[in-house]
Assembly symmetry: D2
Homo-oligomer: 429 residues x 4
């Protein structure tokens, strides 16, 4: 019998246990959405390593709707830069319903890109001011496809159906025009925005797209850097502050996963450095969020420890040991054996230990054999430690079999000496 991962079993269990919940109602203000099969239910989860798990109706396509907002925001940030986007759209929670104006006092900016006024403005920013409306939609589809790792397409029937009842969005577009926030033709912008909302996805697509944000913009399957790290961080921050229409605080405390829901019943989740999540179930609560979708997110957070504020079991140190050792042709050395990913916190423990050490003058070995990676701060701090040791006329060696610290220039051209390993002379650990 082959080994079977418990993760799919777990997702199956969620789908099964929540299937009975038929609360809520399918969105009925758009005829095409009203025809959705209310019993559809699917969940998917993609790790930042690129593995996707799913359960339920994971191959059913549905229109992305408002879940398009964070991704279009990512595209606009990429195309225009942060400042030009912030000129037109804020980042503050609005405390109001998604289709209200919520313009900020003096600037008349929409409060954030997750409400319709902000999303319409954001759509129009994609591709820059000279972008043709059709090109803009194509650019949106292209970015979304890159995030999902497959060619996505627009559901024309949904789009047409929504355009028939687009008065609210037309109202917003005209109001934005009147405040000088939106420059394009109101009807054309709304058409483009509606096409963006009509892009079809599955829960697997959403999970992969979310995982891309969670991985700092790197698509975990294709490996493409679809958006830059600052863009992913900005999008996740705005999702956290403004993503779930009502109750940002309740969501942040009880679930703790940056998220966005859509009126077709989809929910996107993305936990930095961990996972992307996609859920689909068309019945919505009064706030317009998928009933089973919300419950699924709560289960994943509670069962999996997937929560922004989770700090459990992280006390273990990055410095595995400091021990005497020997190097051929060098003699006695002091070995600093690191472990785990080295961020600020890990590097700090190494620096602290170095500081406390006696001024022996002994050569120092940094053993990174158990280190899978360093982030930018971790790398800079370790190099700075080496620089200071070198300045004090200490010899510095580096054990780095996996090459996690390539090109170890400490800043002034000097580098540690690379050695394959250091033999320990203290066998006590």
């Amino acid at each position: 019998m082959a080994f079977r991962s418990p993760v799919p079993d777990y997702l199956d269990e969620i789908v099964e246990s929540l299937a009975d919940d038929t609360n809520g109602a399918v969105a009925d203000y758009i005829p095409e959405l009203a025809q959705a099969d209310p019993d559809r239910f699917a969940v998917a989860l993609t790790t930042v390593d690129g593995r996707t798990y799913s359960a339920g109706d994971d191959d059913v396509e549905f229109s992305i709707q408002s879940i398009s907002k964070p991704f279009a925001y990512a595209a606009a940030l990429t195309d225009l830069g942060l400042d030009r986007v912030l000129d037109k759209v804020g980042v503050e929670p609005s405390g109001e319903a998604f289709n209200e104006l919520s313009l900020e006092g003096e600037s008349h900016r929409p409060m954030n890109p997750m409400i319709n006024a902000g999303a319409i403005t954001t759509h129009h920013l994609v591709g820059g001011p000279d972008c043709d409306p059709d090109e803009r939609v194509q650019r949106v589809v292209r970015v979304f496809s890159a995030l999902a790792g497959r060619e996505l397409r627009i559901d024309d029937a949904v789009c047409r159906s929504e355009l028939e009842t687009a008065d609210r969005n037309l109202a917003l577009a005209h109001m934005l025009r009147s405040h000088g926030i939106l420059a394009g033709d109101a009807a054309q912008v709304v058409r483009g925005y509606t096409e963006q909302c009509s892009i079809l996805v599955t829960v697997r697509d959403l999970a992969v797209m979310g995982a891309t944000l969670a991985k700092g913009g790197v698509q975990p399957v294709t490996g493409d850097a679809v958006v830059e790290p600052w863009v992913a961080r900005q999008v996740l921050g705005v999702m956290t502050a403004c993503g779930m229409y009502n109750g940002a605080g309740e969501w942040l405390t009880a679930v703790g996963i940056p998220a966005k829901s859509g009126v077709a019943g989809g929910i996107l989740g993305a936990l930095p450095a961990q996972v992307g999540i996609g859920v689909f179930s068309p019945r919505l609560d009064r706030n317009g969020n998928s009933v089973r979708g919300l419950r699924t997110c709560r289960r994943l957070s509670a069962d999996m420890g997937l929560h922004l504020m989770e700090a459990e079991a992280l006390g273990a140190g990055a410095l595995r040991s400091v021990h005497p050792g020997t190097l051929p042709d060098v003699g006695e050395v002091l070995v600093y054996e690191l472990q785990g990913i080295i961020q600020f916190r890990g590097a700090e423990t190494v620096l602290r230990e170095l500081e406390g050490a006696s001024e022996s003058g002994q050569p120092v070995v940094f053993d990174l054999a158990r280190v899978p990676g360093l982030n930018d701060v971790g790398r800079r701090m370790i190099l700075e430690a080496m620089r200071r040791l070198l300045l004090a006329d200490r010899r510095v060696f580096l054990v780095d079999p996996d090459g996690v610290l390539p090109d170890p220039d400490v800043g002034d051209g000097r580098r540690p000496e690379i050695v394959p390993s250091a033999s320990s002379t203290d066998r006590s650990h």
Copy 2:
């Protein structure tokens, strides 16, 4: 020359470079606060491992003021449990100034514990309904002292001075009483709350207290579990949603550190699983936040990658290698060598690999020698993997020199066989 950590140098540089910024003004509505030396400036940073770095006037005591709010909230959650606290105080951003009522529509709950109405209510919850007012204050001082790791005390002069201009808080207390949210005598509750606000701290205290929240409630120096992990998570979540008076979204995107400021010029920061931060500089901007304090937080976030949404360099896998090996008296085995802290994401990579492996029937070795720790989900997932292998009649061995997986019962009484190590037969890595 002794090695000197660059972290203090970095903090010194921050203090030096921002010292020139004399924008803002010392709070003047409380006579005692108005007398603060506006040039004071200090910053401290405590890692979840318990090391505190600081620079500037790091031994100057100042009144904690509104920074007491998250800690009193932690005390109330501890004393009454989540539901009874949520009955009286919400968790949503108010979008209004700190001293406005901001009561929720039907419940009349204050919107959150970070505005004064919510903080007064929260103070009164500490110790439960039968707690004597004096006992309540003592309990607050005790909890705060436990968080800081030293005996804190109340500044009576500040307290008296604030009580002379306590009309706003008295107004809030009476209004809360009129809505049945507050049961105690209004003047007495305001006195107790004002005493809470008058507790004296240094930036080092704040950094340690923040680090306690960042470490799931475990004081990183004393090792005491001052509050439970869910309490720390709830407090951090509310700080994120409601901590910085205006501009929650701007703070969340641009800085990304759960934080709280006080009118005496203090700022508390706490990044889950990383650090606690304390800053002190009495000059405030129009929103009542310390001018240099805000700039310091921005520098720390930008320079140190201290940001909730940071996902950089975390792609490295938990599964260092899978290779054939041999065990004495067993023979050929398949070794799964793990590395780093194992959370959901790490465990998942192991499960995935197991799933993909051929049904060889070979014994399996889990080598945790490079694993500094597992969180609860990681532990459960690894044990589940073992259980499934045992169910399939595979032999399962565990290498765990540091005892990071103690008592490895897979759920039905069975356990992996403990071995000191497995010799690799594949030398290619």
Copy 3:
């Protein structure tokens, strides 16, 4: 030398004394309005008797703009009745700027017909649901012309200019459509509403139109009952509550004249039973009201006692005297000599006196020779008094040389006996 009324002199003096006030700025968001001569200034005043006084540029035409709102409301009330209009537009002050949505909570009705959302809705109600857009505009022009007593026309250049920057109104129209308040095509309704706003008037037109409202809907020059009394009352009430954008209370206390201003610089005033007022001066304050127009209204109110709450010198009684008299062929009678217009209050004094009189059984004479008129309540009360006297077998006579009490049926077919006069036997008054 001919006698010259001081009223024109007074108006001339106002125009002269306020001419220096060049504060404010001509509305610049509509190109055509921006070209207005800012120095234009005119005032007109029409009594309910139909005399119009004016001063300054009283023959300059300007677009009526928002002053069209009360008159279109009158037209809609006439065409649909009160209930059907109230279904779609409320009567409450909005406390917000004129171009905001201000929709009521559940009904989504615009708060009142004086804000743009309500005015757009009101325009569409004119002529009823089956009215063709062009017919609707023609109906508006026709009603306005009947109110002004001359053929008014639309300024096509202003209309075209406004339609070029009609985004706010288009936004409102679409939003109203989305809430089911507005049924027509958004662009078409906005065009019709803009045509309504582009109707050209002079201050003399406005004064006459206002006087028509002040006279219960009767055009004081032509004598036509343009709208019914309840319509005039409803319009005046809404103008009082919602007419001046900000500061309804300040206007009501300090000026006390129901009023409406327009962005072209016009102001309409209408004091029930007294006068209509028109002012024109294009420079606007920050609230969009004509600076000199407001000051003119304040002067008129203060100098002329034109104020809704004015109660000065009204203590004089409706009952001039009760005295013994004689009638040929009848003998001794008791004469009740009335004076002034008999409303509730006046009739009441007569009834009171009758009640106090001794039960002499003497015939009673109602002498209305000094009564210029009775309102409906006054008429009914006097007839009821006669009825009761007749029931008590008293003879009742009526002196009514001007026929102010035509057809004096007391309700059961009986009537007082008409006599030309009664000679007084008591010469003491």
Copy 4:
């Protein structure tokens, strides 16, 4: 059989027909109020001539509660003048519930004196800044008694009962203190305000007090000028804008009587120059207004034409006739026979006629025999007409048997010649 006025019958009919309406509930938040007999029902109406009619439980005393607000406002205006009162309390409708803060943006003034925050502030203004709290209450009782024409007294039991649940008012007082609006001790001011609210009145008192406002401040029974005309006008204006908690516009259009309601079930009405109204029925609707009280006001407005915007039947002119006549020793004259009360409008008709007359040089007679009175503007305009005639060397005579135009100095010392009457030579009218 004595004549019986139909007015009492009419009020009896109202009481009888509305007695069945047992909707609403007695206010229960104050124990003493909760004990009120819910079936009590009374209505009273006082004319500006001083006659009071009443029906139902017209001798039952109840606490005045919020109806004290306009009268205390009148007292404060009298004691401090308009500007100093406006410094502390605004005049704008708040759009919020009566017990909310509703402070204006920059000034922090309460929005108006009809909400509790404004009423507490107003109470404290009575008597000026140096007034002792007890003296202040005595001054309030004294002013109210003067308005009612009898000694009113405080219900101590109601006052004590309200003080036990005074948290909202204490909250407001502290908040007002914190904004520098209120200077006194919060608890003391609330006690004084609560005493003010506990003054006992009957519907007859309210009707008389209202009639005093309606008569420009002159108590219609005692003839005392209790407050100045501008005070009465200001109070009536504020009642109109802010008196009925919700729905100022609905009240203004549908009822049209400045009014104020109290939580004990009272309603005060006052129609300028017409009547004061008092109603009492303890069952309240959700807005805190007496259910039967509101219906009574609606009936009175509809049946009696008692409406601010009423303009019916007022077309009749002030100029009864212009005819040739003769004066002994003078010869042929032109007689202008006036009628009714002469306000601006009436005087204007005379001036207009004078202007149109041929330049005959004939002497002019102003016959005021049918004029019961002139207001200030009317008086000034008639005198100005005389002045201009005298300037043109016309002889001017005055017939004024009732002395309605005493001391007819036209401004430069000249006066018309007084004559007893002028014989008409034109018998056609």
